[in-house]
């Protein structure tokens, strides 16, 4: 992504964003809540177009691509949603089979083997016939991961993969992300604010704040940074450049004058 600006309703979400996710590596994008991390993923997957600047995926400039080219590119990408986004009317097996069924003419026996092998890799082959409502949060995310890799993508995008998971599930997801990257050579982009978890798997990290990249480098470099905002984020201090208080009128004045909140 080069010099990307993105404006919604006159409010700039990104102003001059530069991020490069290198082939075959895990790139972490971190930042406080509300910095547009999810918007970043929407830009990469061409759900929204940048107001200016270029977003290139697999060598293709998304600004120049038509709908067919975008759909073609998306077949080479996988995305893990924060809540899994499993199709609730299909079983676990059918959910994983869904992108293959819709995009290829793979014969049924081959499809079955493919889906079972992907489910095996996330440890849920035994859950193939369950419905998404019968899964725990961690299991749902693993099924979603199996679905994201079933088309053997070149890029895997993770949206907040650790949110709301217990330590065991978190460990499983962490191991799987690393495994997908090492074993399959998938380029991974992980958007998250879980600093400690990301530090163990990321090759490169970017820290976003105020619509820009404020720091980048390996997780160790970021941890050692003496930039105030980086320090606040990495060590989780409640006040600093990212203020604890949302902008408001003077506290005492508001209490005394009885002004409408």
């Amino acid at each position: 992504m080069r010099d990307v600006h993105y404006v919604v309703d006159g409010r700039a979400i990104f102003s001059g964003l530069n991020i490069r996710a290198r082939r075959g590596r895990i790139t972490a994008v971190m930042g406080p809540s509300g910095t547009g991390k999810t918007t970043l993923l929407r830009l990469i997957t061409a759900q929204v177009a940048a107001s200016s600047g270029t977003v290139s995926v697999l060598g293709k400039d998304l600004g120049q691509a038509d709908k067919d080219e975008i759909y073609g590119l998306r077949k080479r990408m996988g995305m893990l949603f924060q809540n899994g986004a499993l199709l609730t009317d299909l079983s676990v097996f059918e959910n994983v089979a869904f992108p293959v069924r819709e995009n290829t003419d793979l014969p049924e026996p081959l499809l079955r083997r493919l889906v079972l092998s992907k489910l095996q890799s996330v440890g849920l082959r035994g859950a193939a016939q369950l419905m998404p409502t019968e899964l725990s949060g961690g299991m749902a995310r693993r099924v979603a991961l199996a679905r994201a890799i079933v088309m053997d993508p070149e890029i895997l995008i993770y949206d907040e993969p650790f949110v709301g998971l217990d330590p065991i599930s978190m460990g499983v997801i962490l191991r799987l992300i690393k495994q997908m990257n090492v074993a399959l050579g998938i380029t991974s982009v992980v958007v998250s604010h879980d600093v400690q978890e990301l530090a163990t798997i990321a090759d490169d990290s970017y820290l976003l704040s105020g619509g820009k990249v404020v720091a980048n480098g390996s997780p160790q470099e970021l941890a050692a940074s003496n930039l105030e905002v980086v320090h606040q984020f990495m060590s989780g201090e409640d006040d600093g450049p990212v203020a604890f208080h949302y902008p408001a009128p003077d506290y005492f004045e508001q209490l005394l004058t009885g002004e409408e909140p």
Partner: protein, 254 residues
């Protein structure tokens, strides 16, 4: 007197109607590919039609029975209670069948469609499909739309049939109108034009109600309140449009 709120209501309504039409064109473009997957459409015909059967039949029976009672009371005054068959049949075929079926469809199947699609939007399922290179218009919206359009005339036919049975039950069995006269008058009065009028209405209502339901769900705000609001809008807009179009089509067939 007009104020900002009224203007917003009117302009918002017009804007939504325009958006619905644009959505219809996009949807129609995806209908041909959707026919390539008949299993999806059949599942939706079952969803919209099959699951509405009981309520449609129950209401049809009562509407027919009321027609029988009211019609008998009225016709008896003129000593022409034998005309009950034709009165009930024409009333059901031309008006009550298509209209009441559409209103029930909006309340039963339309709301289900809107909330289902709205929740799919709210839980990122539609976005996930897009990311998997599957157009949700083709996979989700088009089969549901087509299912509704096909189900409506079938439901209307069943409503009419059960309604006639109800009218017959009251007229012939309870009020002792002559059975031969009841059916022969009915046969003489109902011509192809009346049947066509009812059929055209049911198809138009099917398109309208399904379009509104799918459109509202597809474009609902991805929140609990948003899906609730979209569902309410489906019922209100479908009911109003059904009655409005009913008048237009009736005038056209006169």
């Amino acid at each position: 007197m007009s104020n900002g709120r009224d203007e917003n209501f009117i302009i918002g309504g017009i804007r939504r109607m325009g958006a619905s039409f644009l959505f219809l064109f996009k949807l129609l473009g995806q209908c041909a590919p959707a026919f390539g997957r008949p299993s999806l459409i059949i599942a939706q015909i079952y969803n919209a039609g099959g699951r509405s059967l009981i309520i449609i039949m129950l209401c049809g029976l009562f509407v027919g029975m009321v027609l029988g009672l009211q019609g008998f009371q009225l016709l008896q005054r003129f000593g022409s209670e034998e005309a009950l068959g034709s009165a009930a049949a024409l009333g059901l075929l031309k008006e009550l069948g298509p209209v009441v079926t559409a209103l029930l469809f909006a309340g039963r199947a339309g709301t289900a469609l809107t909330s289902e699609i709205g929740l799919m939007r709210a839980t990122d399922q539609l976005t996930a499909m897009e990311i998997m290179s599957v157009d949700p218009l083709r996979y989700v919206a088009a089969p549901r739309f087509l299912g509704g359009v096909i189900a409506m005339p079938l439901l209307t036919a069943i409503f009419n049939l059960v309604g006639l049975f109800g009218a017959q039950l009251i007229g012939v069995e309870l009020m002792h109108v002559d059975q031969g006269a009841f059916w022969s008058q009915l046969q003489a009065a109902v011509d192809l034009r009346s049947v066509n009028e009812g059929f055209v209405k049911s198809v138009v209502f099917g398109i309208t109600c399904s379009l509104i339901a799918v459109h509202e769900g597809y474009n609902s705000a991805p929140t609990a309140a948003g899906v609730g609001l979209a569902t309410t809008r489906t019922v209100v807009a479908s009911s109003v449009m059904t009655l409005l179009l009913d008048y237009v089509i009736t005038a056209f067939f006169l």
